[in-house]
């Protein structure tokens, strides 16, 4: 493990113009540290900020200069404190000089590692590069950067620069920004460096690689254009899903005094005869069976081994074809990348010639691949050109797997033109759709493309690590809400929506949606429920009905809370006595239901229904003496509404007199009679804020 450890310096610009995005930087940097804690806990990290009032670094002591660069954390093995350091970056007061910071970072790496861990030393610079760097004592700025870059290359350091552009581009700074861009680009010419520019805070979260995975080739060998003409290539994975961490199952059986308890759970499989469950068959006595008609044909693994299809390891060209023959939706899996053997100049040229010719002619190549010797299947796929825009990066190909004849299901669908006239859009509707498709634009000219996969982080992972950190401090911490920056991924950008309000309203006006009258009430779920009649009456009616439903439906054994009749479902579930789990299941289900209703509301249309559910939940919690469940939930719901701009629901609840469960109602409650309303009293000043 330690063999692959990385030494990383985070250089963060905390100057005044950076303050607005520092929260995001804190988030992404702590995520980086957290992932290191989970996946590579021997890595070492140092943190340097620049643009601070103070100065604190070795170089200033040794040679002077390098002002406003502060070493927050000398290089050390990642630990919990580092996460805290990252979450409390100081706010600087002066424009920082990123070149000074880079030199300080290099100096730290050199002093710490000298010649060791070559290629595993990395500097990560986050800045907006809005301020000019100081002129060097001798030579030009460019010369200075060249010298630094060469030094870096000599020590086997990499540098990643993330330049945050923000939306506010000041004309006055244009020349400086250009100069800085030029200076930073020198790094990528001279060393292993990558510079990305991002405009939105969401892309900032995605721009920093939070987990280092050393790439491994899945194939090294010949790309055979024919039996006589071969090109040496290496194949890597280009995309591969970063999975949600696999959590271990927890066992609480070990006594609490046992300090060395692993708390792990082993899973044991036993194979039993279907006809005689008491008979256990040892695993080696099993044999695989495959269906053939109604029978199962046993095939021993030896037999299977002997007759298995075993092609030779090779990658062969089948031919070229027009790019339009391969539709995008036929891509089957994650993507591979073919690069020429980096040490083989001729191969690089051959790949380059093919890629460029393919791009020019709009052709793709079809390949047959067997990546490893002993592989029992072949892969047919399409090679598409990836012509590099950068002089020092070689051309390459992307490779996507295509389906076989057996993988395609030929389902027939009605042709749109054959559908009745009533579902054909008229010209007005078509125009509204055209406008919507044009105007709801995520890649406007002159601006950064929003939600580019390359810069869009996975909100679930971010949230998991955030919660993990919270739990490490308070084991009972609630799941944190999705923060606003990440919401730009899961929900439309309010800015885009408000800019295009006219277009959207027009679209909404042109099309008419109604629920299908032929459907039974119970299956309706998509359209908002319009509750008729006065709201109060509805609740009373429900209460009256629900009490006898408890007895009647409990025989049916309700197991989930449905969409059509949540209240009776809940009451049936909570009163089931065949297992103690039902109470918690019912409460859990009802909570989710309330969230669903509130979250999916449009201008408050689902609030009454949510209230019904909430009333029922409260009553259930009083009966079952589970006041905490309800009280915590109400707090949680309240916070949730505040975060999601749904404070109108809180007001609605306050107006309908929903209170916490008090001590008089349930013994376990910690809420005194007078405090029952405390939540919403507090709500008023908060929501006006």
């Amino acid at each position: 493990m330690a063999r692959n450890k990385e030494g990383l310096i985070l250089l963060v610009d905390v100057g005044p113009t950076m303050h607005s995005v520092l929260p995001e930087i804190q988030k992404v940097c702590s995520l980086l540290i957290q992932k290191k804690l989970v996946y590579s806990k021997y890595d070492e990290v140092g943190v340097v900020v620049f643009g601070t009032e103070d100065t604190k670094n070795d170089l200033t002591k040794e040679v002077g200069g390098y002002e406003h660069v502060t070493v927050l954390q000398p290089i050390k093995v990642v630990d919990g404190d580092l996460v805290d350091v990252m979450q409390q970056l100081p706010r600087g007061t002066v424009p920082g000089d990123f070149m000074d910071a880079i030199v300080v970072g290099m100096d730290m790496l050199i002093k710490k590692y000298q010649e060791t861990i070559k290629g595993k030393k990395r500097i990560c610079l986050i800045t907006n590069a809005m301020y000019p760097i100081k002129d060097p004592y001798e030579g030009t700025k460019e010369d200075q950067v060249y010298t630094i870059a060469e030094q870096m290359a000599a020590h086997g350091m990499k540098i990643d620069c993330i330049v945050f552009k923000g939306n506010q581009i000041h004309d006055t700074h244009d020349s400086i920004i250009k100069e800085n861009d030029m200076l930073l680009s020198i790094f990528s010419k001279k060393t292993k460096a990558k510079a990305v520019r991002v405009e939105s805070s969401t892309s900032l979260l995605g721009a920093l690689r939070t987990r280092n995975i050393s790439p491994v080739t899945i194939y090294r060998g010949d790309l055979e254009l024919s039996s006589t003409f071969k090109i040496k290539v290496w194949v890597y994975k280009k995309t591969s899903e970063e999975k949600f961490p696999t959590l271990k199952k927890y066992s609480d059986k070990a006594p609490s005094t046992d300090k060395f308890a692993t708390h792990e759970i082993k899973i044991d499989y036993e194979y039993k005869s279907v006809q005689d469950p008491s008979k256990v068959v040892p695993p080696e006595q099993r044999i695989k069976g495959y269906r053939y008609g109604p029978q199962v044909i046993p095939i021993s693994s030896a037999e299977l081994e002997a007759v298995k299809f075993r092609p030779e390891k090779s990658v062969k060209l089948l031919g070229f074809t027009n790019a339009s023959n391969i539709m995008r939706h036929y891509y089957m899996k994650d993507v591979n990348i073919f690069i020429a053997d980096p040490g083989n100049k001729k191969a690089i040229i051959a790949v380059s010639a093919l890629a460029r010719a393919m791009k020019e002619m709009n052709k793709v190549a079809i390949l047959r691949c067997v990546w490893r010797q002993g592989q029992t299947n072949v892969v047919i796929g399409v090679l598409t050109p990836n012509v590099s825009e950068n002089d020092n990066i070689a051309d390459s190909f992307y490779f996507n797997v295509l389906p076989f004849a057996e993988d395609i299901r030929e389902f027939q669908f009605p042709s749109f033109s054959n559908l009745p006239a009533s579902v054909q859009p008229n010209s007005e509707q078509q125009e509204a759709a055209d406008k919507l498709v044009m105007m709801l634009d995520l890649a406007p000219a002159g601006k950064e493309e929003a939600l580019r996969p390359d810069f869009t982080p996975n909100p679930v992972l971010e949230r998991f690590y955030h919660h993990l950190e919270l739990k490490s401090k308070h084991p009972d911490a609630a799941v944190p809400p999705l923060d606003a920056t990440l919401k730009r991924i899961t929900e439309p950008d309010p800015e885009v929506i408000s800019q295009n309000k006219l277009v959207i309203d027009e679209f909404r006006r042109c099309f008419d949606l109604k629920e299908n009258p032929k459907l039974k009430k119970s299956t309706r779920r998509l359209l908002r429920d319009r509750t008729s009649g006065s709201f109060g009456g509805e609740v009373v009616k429900n209460e009256g009905r629900s009490t006898d439903l408890v007895t009647s439906t409990s025989t049916v054994k309700v197991e989930t809370i449905g969409d059509s009749t949540p209240v009776p479902d809940f009451e049936a579930m909570i009163s089931r006595r065949d297992s103690p789990e039902w109470v918690s299941k019912a409460i859990f289900g009802m909570k989710n239901k309330v969230f669903d209703l509130v979250e999916n509301s449009y201008e408050g249309d689902t609030y009454p229904k949510a209230l019904e559910c909430l009333v029922a939940l409260r009553r259930g919690c009083v009966i079952e003496q589970e006041p905490k469940q309800f009280n915590n939930f109400l707090h949680h719901l309240y916070r949730f509404c505040q975060e999601k701009d749904l404070s109108s629901f809180c007001e609605f609840l306050a107006s309908k007199d929903i209170t916490l469960i008090t001590k008089t109602e349930a013994e376990d409650s910690e809420i005194a009679e007078g405090d029952a309303r405390s939540l919403f009293v507090k709500a008023e000043p908060n929501s006006s804020k």
Partner: protein
């Protein structure tokens, strides 16, 4: 909302609900083959595959034999019966003359195919004369009508099952275009009429009757003589019938072993276009990798099926535990616990629906923006009327403006950004090639994309790139090696086909393992054609120069030498070191475990055994090698 604890940890792909949809078979088909066994079928021959003359009867029987072998894999739930008519013997429930229903033990006349049935049908010809015998059943002087009887038997067989849930078909194979030819006068008319009536009755019961005629070499099968009325052909259809029938015969023989799936939606989702404006979509899995079928574990002694039972055991105490409610992650040397509810809450970053975020030009959808097979979406008005209209409008706009929609799909397994790419319908003579709708493409997150291009960037100067001339040569090559009509599904998966063939061979006790034709191999012959060979050579020379091969060899050898030299030195070293130890004694005294892994490796390297594995594995390998 009921949360299944496992649900949270499951991938969308191995969702049991999905499996259910995937494994479900197409609605079943009940099929009766009526094979004419009259002497004429045996007498008349036609040139077979290897230029030998084969009887029509042989052609018909071998075609059915081949077809049922495919059918048992493609549609195992179909029920089949095979009847011969114009036979000497009779075997049918109605006890009608001249009709023989072929069957094997433990099987109803019309039933699922079984290995035994297929196996015995394969050799039906050998014993045909002895057991069944051929005899033309329509002769003057007797009132017997074997064709009429055959229809009657077939119809009676097909009485099973309702017409709603099953397709019922009769497939008639014959070379006699005028079955009543040797009958004269009123009897002929009468026989033709009753036979026609019998056929019509069957058709009224929802049974379709199809004819596969076999033509004599110099005399075409004349459909209009008798069968046109019977199967309801007229006008254009009649003219088209013969050529199409020939094609069908070929198709039946060549059919690919491919599991058939019934069209059904994976799930119904809401597509939220703007707040308060949601339409209803159905998703379908049109493209999914086909696995070689589910494995049923059997007891190798009894061949009876087994079931797996899972139990959870506490690693510390060895106690049996129920499905544990909590999971944990080691973080900062502590165990951080999560409940299933918390984990599902973490994953609930959005409601379960599909939410429109905006549109982008198609050029923004890069080739590497892919993770999984796409999912097809099609609108539905079942619950929300007007969905289809909105969908069509957006679909047209997106195609016209060359844009795709970006949306967030909040599925519980993996909430993810998706691209919706509109696909226009493509139809050709054979039917619909591409259905109209949108394909949902699962986009990667930045964490899922690896930066490989930069990995080997050149730091000392520019990367070499191709010259105009080299690109020209590559272009010329591309024009030569052009797969003009390439379509993605033209290849059968050789691994899957060979698996099916193996299962079939074992099920039918076939003597030799079948050879599978691997269609995916490049066309070596085509590549060697002078035009292509020349283009290849020119491109090769322009890139590699005239005498590249040697250089290539040298560099390759240089590398290999270094590696192999190292290995050689290591093994020689091991040989020497290995001699220092008295291995048999160590083994006998059980002292092997006292040696280090390094020391143990001397032995395995010296004896050319695999060096991988843990210490225990090494020791056991050494012991096995010494024969202990």
């Amino acid at each position: 909302m009921d949360m299944d604890p496992d649900d949270v940890f499951r991938d969308e792909e191995d969702d049991p609900e999905n499996d259910l949809y995937q494994e479900r078979q197409a609605s079943k088909e009940l099929l009766v083959y009526l094979v004419d066994a009259s002497p004429k079928m045996f007498n008349i021959t036609c040139p077979g595959e290897d230029q030998k003359n084969e009887s029509h009867f042989h052609v018909a029987v071998s075609c059915i034999a081949q077809f049922i072998k495919v059918q048992i894999i493609n549609r195992p739930y179909d029920e089949i019966a095979i009847c011969f008519f114009n036979t000497r013997e009779k075997k049918n429930l109605q006890d009608l003359n001249g009709v023989y229903v072929f069957n094997v033990a433990e099987r109803e006349h019309l039933d699922n195919l079984t290995a035994r049935f297929i196996r015995e049908f394969d050799c039906v010809e050998e014993s045909f004369n002895k057991l069944i015998g051929s005899e033309y059943g329509i002769v003057s002087g007797s009132r017997d009508n074997s064709l009429y009887n055959a229809f009657w038997v077939a119809q009676a067989l097909l009485r099973k099952g309702s017409a709603k849930t099953a397709d019922k078909r009769i497939l008639l194979l014959t070379n006699e275009d005028d079955p009543f030819g040797n009958i004269k006068g009123v009897t002929k008319l009468d026989m033709a009429r009753t036979t026609l009536q019998r056929a019509k009755d069957a058709q009224d019961l929802g049974i379709s009757i199809e004819l596969l005629p076999l033509s004599r070499p110099n005399e075409e099968f004349n459909v209009s003589l008798c069968y046109a009325d019977l199967i309801g052909l007229d006008g254009d259809d009649l003219a088209q019938f013969m050529p199409l029938a020939g094609e069908r015969f070929e198709d039946m023989k060549k059919q690919l072993r491919k599991r058939m799936f019934k069209k059904r939606k994976v799930r119904r989702i809401t597509f939220m276009i703007a707040s308060g404006l949601s339409i209803e979509l159905n998703t379908y899995a049109l493209i999914r990798p086909t696995a070689p079928g589910t494995i049923t574990w059997l007891d190798s002694v009894t061949n009876l099926p087994l079931k797996a039972e899972r139990s959870f055991i506490c690693a510390d105490t060895g106690a049996l535990v129920q499905e544990p409610p909590k999971r944990f992650q080691i973080y900062k040397n502590e165990e951080i616990k999560f409940s299933t509810e918390e984990l599902s809450e973490i994953k609930r970053v959005s409601t379960g629906s599909l939410r429109l975020l905006g549109f982008k030009p198609l050029s923004c959808l890069k080739d590497y923006h892919n993770l999984r097979p796409s999912t097809f979406v099609s609108p539905s008005d079942e619950e929300v009327m007007g969905s289809t209209c909105i969908f069509i409008a957006l679909h047209r706009s997106m195609i016209r403006l060359k844009r795709f929609a970006v949306a967030f799909y909040g599925s519980s397994a993996r909430p993810q950004l998706v691209g919706l790419v509109a696909q226009d319908e493509i139809v050709d003579a054979g039917g619909q090639l591409e259905p109209p709708g949108m394909h949902m493409i699962y986009l990667p997150y930045s964490e899922d994309i690896r930066l490989i291009e930069e990995l080997h960037s050149e730091t000392t100067g520019n990367m070499p790139s191709a010259t105009e001339d080299q690109i020209q040569k590559a272009t010329a090559l591309m024009k030569r090696v052009d797969l003009r009509d390439f379509s993605v599904c033209q290849f059968a998966n050789p691994a899957l086909q060979s698996h099916y063939a193996v299962v079939q061979a074992l099920a039918l006790d076939e003597d030799e393992m079948p050879e599978i034709n691997d269609e995916t191999l490049p066309d070596e012959e085509g590549m060697a054609r002078p035009g292509i060979a020349k283009a290849l050579e020119e491109f090769k020379v322009s890139v590699y120069g005239e005498n590249y091969d040697e250089e290539n060899e040298n560099t390759a050898q240089g590398k290999a030498n270094a590696a192999s030299k190292k290995r050689k030195v290591a093994s020689e070293d091991a040989l020497v070191k290995c001699a220092y130890y008295d291995w048999p004694k160590l083994a006998d005294d059980g002292k092997l475990k006292d040696l280090t892994v390094q020391e143990l490796k001397y032995y395995v390297t010296a004896h050319k055994l695999p060096v991988a594995g843990k210490k225990e594995a090494l020791i056991s390998r050494i012991l096995t090698h010494m024969g202990k």
